[in-house]
């Protein structure tokens, strides 16, 4: 009976298999699934990208990460600690209610009353607010406790909610008294069911089912340019093979992150196209410099060769970055000679290439007192970055060639990140996607001396320390004037590259593949945004 039913069903579905997809519908296969549609739940690329569809913030990062006006039309820093934002007065939420400064204040208060959150940008930004005033319903004046030059960049990441989702009296930025909120603060579930998911973005949430995907409908009230898509389906397909198969079979219109090795197949296929843009993600080598006796370095005299700049330079010279990009990354990467892409804020405009010269590298090793090299273990992930274990393998071979006998220990990310936090490694391959703030983001997190009070150097696992650099970087991150800040960051970036406390390898490229008739410009932050997918004339 069962079998017969299925047979009948199969016959039926074969007849209907080739039904054409409705126009103005877009189906996207995501490489990683958003864990919630609450924009203040967890700071993950997948979650942030979905939030961009349903909500808007005061500013909006464009594909090159420059901040464009969003709910705010303009902003300025009145002095080092005061920011004034002018808000749009023509915006309504997806439920028809009007947007004004109260919604913004409510949103900022919610980031401080967000029990279910796993961790977002919001809380640390709002903690720094001394006061938020509204001279009129469409003007916002924020004073900060500490100087924060990146205010527009940071506020562009805090998606604005509607105050209508909670019971309240008059809304004021008074954290002691719950900002005037009398009802229960909404948790992540209220958003996932759609009840509280009311925003001012280009789309409205129709359905979110964990594991199955997200359905979005066009927001007819959107204040910006209306998206061409009436409905968008986002389906999580974590394995790259099935994701590509779904594109080939026509189930999906656009897929994230096809494997670089599959691009030749996409090129050969009629009716498919792809786009590849350099991302902000740098792959780099981090060395244990702080400890005199490092656990995974094997030298005859027990010394730590990484403390010698000549050895670090030798390591850098031993690696043929172009070969890694061409052979391992199939060309979908760019050799890195600094830690952020050349066009980002605070980058060295045209950095000197880090040369590949294995003979000179061998000489440098000898000069540093290691004519016979030494032994080393390189630790890396095997499931976090594009082709990470192959890249690490090649790095180990390059180093072994100049006499540094390098063994590779590649592991899954959950183990790697925990062990790295515990400072268990001597030599590790990491990755970092620079976000707002450009150069500052990598430098303050990795290169600056670990200082818990200032909140800098949290990822400086190798204890690299250069007081001169620290002074410049600390000055840069509290300078509001953009020109001055850019100059200071460039200097800091140059110092970091000169001393090679970290060795940059390459920038990954992000790839999207799609069917003919579509076009996607791609984004450096690796977000897939349906409203930036356009139809081309067919």
């Amino acid at each position: 009976m069962t079998y017969r039913n299925l047979k009948a069903g199969t016959a039926m579905l074969l007849a209907l298999a080739a039904s054409p997809a409705a126009a103005q519908e877009l189906t996207i296969a995501l490489a990683s699934e958003p864990t919630a549609v609450d924009p203040h739940y967890h700071d993950l690329t997948s979650n942030n990208a979905v939030a961009e569809h349903i909500y808007s913030a005061l500013g909006r990062a464009d594909a090159q990460q420059n901040i464009q006006p969003g709910l705010a039309t303009s902003w300025e820093a009145e002095d080092d600690n005061t920011w004034v934002f002018q808000l749009r007065d023509d915006v309504v939420f997806s439920d028809g209610s009007e947007f004004n400064a109260d919604d913004v204040i409510f949103t900022y208060c919610r980031t401080m009353n967000n029990e279910t959150s796993v961790g977002t940008v919001g809380e640390s930004v709002v903690t720094n607010f001394a006061s938020v005033e509204t001279p009129d319903p469409h003007t916002l004046r924020i004073t900060t406790k500490e100087i924060e030059p990146l205010m527009p960049e940071l506020l562009a990441q805090i998606m604005i909610l509607s105050e209508g989702i909670v019971e309240h009296d008059e809304i004021t930025f008074d954290l002691e008294n719950d900002c005037g909120v009398t009802g229960e603060w909404p948790g992540v579930d209220a958003f996932n069911t759609g009840e509280a998911a009311i925003g001012t973005g280009p789309f409205v949430l129709e359905e979110f089912t964990l594991g199955s995907g997200i359905t979005l409908g066009r927001n007819e009230n959107y204040f910006g340019e209306a998206p061409v898509w009436e409905r968008v389906r986002m389906v999580p397909v974590p394995a790259s093979g099935p994701r590509l198969a779904g594109l080939l079979s026509g189930d999906y219109d656009l897929i994230e992150n096809p494997a670089a090795r599959d691009i030749t197949q996409i090129e050969a296929q009629e009716g498919l196209d792809y786009v590849s843009v350099p991302s902000n993600r740098i792959i780099f080598l981090q060395m244990d410099i702080g400890r005199d006796d490092s656990p995974f370095i094997r030298t005859g005299d027990g010394s730590n060769p990484f403390q010698d700049e000549r050895v670090r330079r030798a390591v850098s010279m031993a690696i043929d970055r172009q070969a890694i990009v061409d052979r391992i990354m199939d060309g979908f990467a760019t050799p890195a000679y600094q830690f952020i892409p050349d066009n980002m804020f605070g980058a060295i405009p045209d950095p000197e290439p880090l040369e590949y010269d294995p003979e000179r590298a061998t000489e440098l090793l000898a000069e540093a007192g290691y004519p016979d090299g030494f032994g080393l273990t390189l630790h890396a992930t095997n499931d976090r970055y594009i082709n990470d274990s192959q890249v690490a393998q090649v790095v180990a071979q390059f180093l072994t060639r100049i006499g540094i006998q390098t063994e590779l220990d590649a592991m899954t990310r959950s183990i790697f990140f925990s062990r790295r936090s515990d400072k268990e490694f001597s030599f590790a391959m990491g990755g970092w996607g620079s976000s707002e703030g450009g150069a500052a983001s990598f430098l303050r997190q990795y290169v600056t001396t670990d200082n818990e009070d200032l909140g800098v150097g949290a990822s400086n696992y190798g204890a690299w320390s250069d007081p001169e650099f620290d002074a410049i970087l600390l000055e840069a991150i509290s300078t509001v004037d953009e020109e001055k800040r850019a100059a200071l960051l460039q200097r800091a970036e140059q110092m970091a590259v000169d001393k090679l406390g970290f060795i940059p390898l390459h920038f990954e490229s992000s790839i999207w593949a799609f069917r003919d008739g579509l076009s996607y410009p791609g984004r450096a932050d690796q977000y897939t945004l349906a409203h930036e997918v356009t139809q081309t004339a067919e």
Binding site: L210, S249, I415
Partner: protein
Amino acid sequence: MALFVLQRLLQSIAVLFAVSIAIFLAVYSVGNPADLLVPPDATQAERAAMIARLGLDRPVWAQYLTFLGNALQGDLGTSFVHGRPALSLILSRMPATFELVFWALAIASAIGIPIGLWIGLNDGTRTARAAMTGSILGYSIPSFWKGMVLILIFAVWLQWLPAAGRGETVSLLGIPLSFLTLDGLRHMTLPVVNLAIPNIALMIRLTAAGAAEAVHQDYVRFARAKGVRPKRIVRRHVLRNILIPIVTVLGVEFGSLIAFSTITETVFAWPGMGRLLITSIYQLDRPVVVAYVMLVTFIFVAVNLLVDFTYAALDPRVKLVENMG
């Protein structure tokens, strides 16, 4: 019978308890979930706050006692990643997996048992030997590869069926089901076939072996000598006698497929429990992994109990033995 049930229940509770300790220790020894949860640009203070919030700064025994106390009240913890109770997260994925496994095993039995029976009754003929050899193939092809080949043939080349996902579902008594809609059926076909193939092979081999042995038994010879019609011999005597091992294996297969059809679910992006498990392991979502293993243990224990009871129904001798004991 009551004593038998009570005894089995006590054993089951002991098993659940032992498993909870083992899995808790195993999960605890791997990595630090906070390192995967905090944003990469988190400051030292933010990381410490996260560790404290998740209770990871407490010793393992204290964490276990909290878990045990909550578990006894039916709370298996809250997912680190999703912020939802782990059990409800897993249960919300269960219908999808259940449906997949149910249809896969139904098809496997419907196809495998008749073929197996035929092979067993025609033991030694060339066709039977060939079929037997062929079934090894079905059993030993890796699931991942087979899934990709199915996708390649039916989704990419022929474009008859969708490559992945669950498609449209219909809610029946609050449970979302795929097989009631055409779109759902289309999405279900490939993963069901992928899961069914090794089980068809398993059923064939099991039934064939049993039947081949049974036809030489005295009771079959006797029945034949008595002049019972061959069809009746097969139905009444052969099949009923060989069903016991088949039901056992079906029970075990059902349990293990519910728990670990991970590969099929990953290949076909099927939103079931197996895929939840594998992502939770990668993300070090400890509460979900622990709750999952506890739930699976529970299912296994329950299925084994059911199988024991089915034995009793199928084979009167089981009751007899138990009465004597």
